[in-house]
């Protein structure tokens, strides 16, 4: 099921050319952007909010935000997919926090999705082999380690919030997080920097 998406990412038009067309306001560029990354963005947002209707709203908001900020994106150096994922994740977590009555974390959001933060990344970062490897690496983690990574990434919880949710000491949660990230880095380090 993931294959068509990955093939589209790997063999489609160059991202840099697509960024140029988006910056020129080419009317077909938004369609191409959605064709290439719509499923990826929808899958991520749905995993976070777990509601199809809300996910649709947030996907639209994600693409709107990208369209509105693409002028600040360096298509020659930047990598579109990680930027889109960061914007999508922030929109979804922002929604979760708002729905729970928490304040938006404006500083964190602006920091993690700034276009400049995605410069010089590997162009085919999200190819099928790497996605498969990250899934394998996540499966290798212990249940607790995987839980904290998922709570952090898909629910946007801080380490203190995770400790409260899991009813575990903060120090224990911090250990799980750091061990999990170190394991992922060791498993995928060569994949990421290749």
């Amino acid at each position: 099921m993931l294959l068509p998406l990955l093939l589209a990412i790997e063999f489609g038009e160059n991202d840099a050319d697509l960024v140029k067309r988006l910056q020129r306001r080419d009317p077909r560029a938004m369609a191409e952007l959605y064709n290439r990354y719509g499923r990826l963005v929808y899958a991520l947002i749905l995993r976070v909010v777990r509601d199809g209707g809300i996910a649709e709203d947030l996907v639209q908001e994600t693409f709107l935000r990208v369209w509105n900020r693409v002028q600040g994106f360096d298509g020659e150096k930047g990598c579109l997919a990680p930027w889109l994922l960061a914007v999508a994740r922030n929109r979804a977590i922002d929604y979760l926090r708002s729905a729970a009555g928490h304040m938006r974390n404006a500083v964190e959001v602006s920091d993690t999705e700034h276009p400049a933060g995605f410069a010089d990344m590997e162009k085919d970062l999200l190819n099928s082999d790497k996605v498969r490897r990250v899934r394998v690496a996540l499966e290798k983690l212990s249940q607790n380690q995987r839980a904290v990574i998922e709570l952090a990434y898909f629910e946007g919880l801080s380490q203190a919030e995770m400790a409260e949710r899991l009813k575990q000491p903060l120090g224990t949660v911090k250990t799980w997080v750091r061990t999990a990230l170190r394991s992922l880095r060791d498993e995928l380090g060569t994949a990421v920097t290749a």
Binding site: P27, M30, Q60, D94, K130, R135
Partner: protein, 252 residues
């Protein structure tokens, strides 16, 4: 802190879990183009992106593509760029009509017809310009990191639901879905309700056939003194006092 001391915090930073002092230190290193921390954080962001890409694959509904393409610049919105072209085409049509009508001795009737057509095109162009201005106002509010966001209807499976954004300088933005079009002769009216005060009318709007709505109240708004934003169903001319109960209410 030195770069060596920050090495173990790059992934935490990319994941949004870094705390002070490491968070501030990494930001400071990035701000001064640190040759060690910039590639380190970049690799960490690549790693974190892969976690997102590993979410279970799901096929989005086909209608979602239409919604995304409705964003200005998408295929549906491309008509903005064509408005001047259509105006020129209409003008040419008008000239051609005049020549034809003189030759056919029906100048006045043809001119009137062309005038009506040109007026229609101009009205459509003006409508599109207003819509573009409205969307620009919405984007401006949406892009304010300090805008207060309130979710309504999220806890119930039934419509309507959505979000309200309040920015002190730019105004109020309402995004709603599952809001059926108002019946004939009726219209939706938004209200800003101050704490301890009477509801203030905040504009009339209609939802689209697919049940989505976007409404903007441009201008400054006192967010701290606002208790809620609500929407009521009113007569087409609008109202100065809300017709209760509200269709939706978002309490701040």
């Amino acid at each position: 802190m030195t770069c060596d001391e920050l090495l173990d915090y790059y992934e935490l930073y990319a994941l949004g879990l870094a705390e002070d002092p490491e968070w501030s230190e990494i930001r400071a290193h990035l701000a001064r183009n640190c040759p060690t921390c910039i590639p380190g954080v970049r690799s960490a962001r690549e790693l974190i992106s892969l976690i997102g890409a590993a979410a279970p694959a799901v096929e989005p509904p086909s209608r979602l593509r239409d919604r995304v393409l409705a964003i200005p610049g998408g295929q549906k919105a491309s008509r903005w760029n064509w408005s001047p072209v259509w105006a020129v085409v209409a003008a040419c049509a008008l000239i051609a009509t005049v020549i034809f009508s003189v030759r056919a001795h029906r100048a006045s009737a043809e001119l009137a017809q062309a005038g009506v057509e040109l007026g229609r095109v101009q009205a459509e162009s003006a409508s599109q310009s207003r819509e573009l201005a409205r969307l620009n106002e919405a984007f401006a509010i949406l892009n304010q990191p300090d805008a207060r966001q309130v979710v309504f209807g999220g806890a119930t499976p039934q419509p309507p639901r959505g979000r309200v954004f309040l920015d002190p300088k730019r105004g109020v933005l309402l995004l709603a879905s599952n809001l059926p079009p108002a019946p004939a002769g009726k219209i939706y009216e938004m209200w800003v309700i101050p704490k301890g005060g009477k509801p203030v009318p905040a504009g009339l709007f209609q939802s689209t056939p697919d049940g989505t709505a976007l409404h903007v109240l441009p201008g400054a708004v006192n967010v701290a003194s606002t208790a809620a934003v609500a929407v009521t169903l009113e007569q087409a001319s609008g109202a100065t006092v809300p017709n209760l109960p509200p269709v939706l209410a978002a309490a701040l």
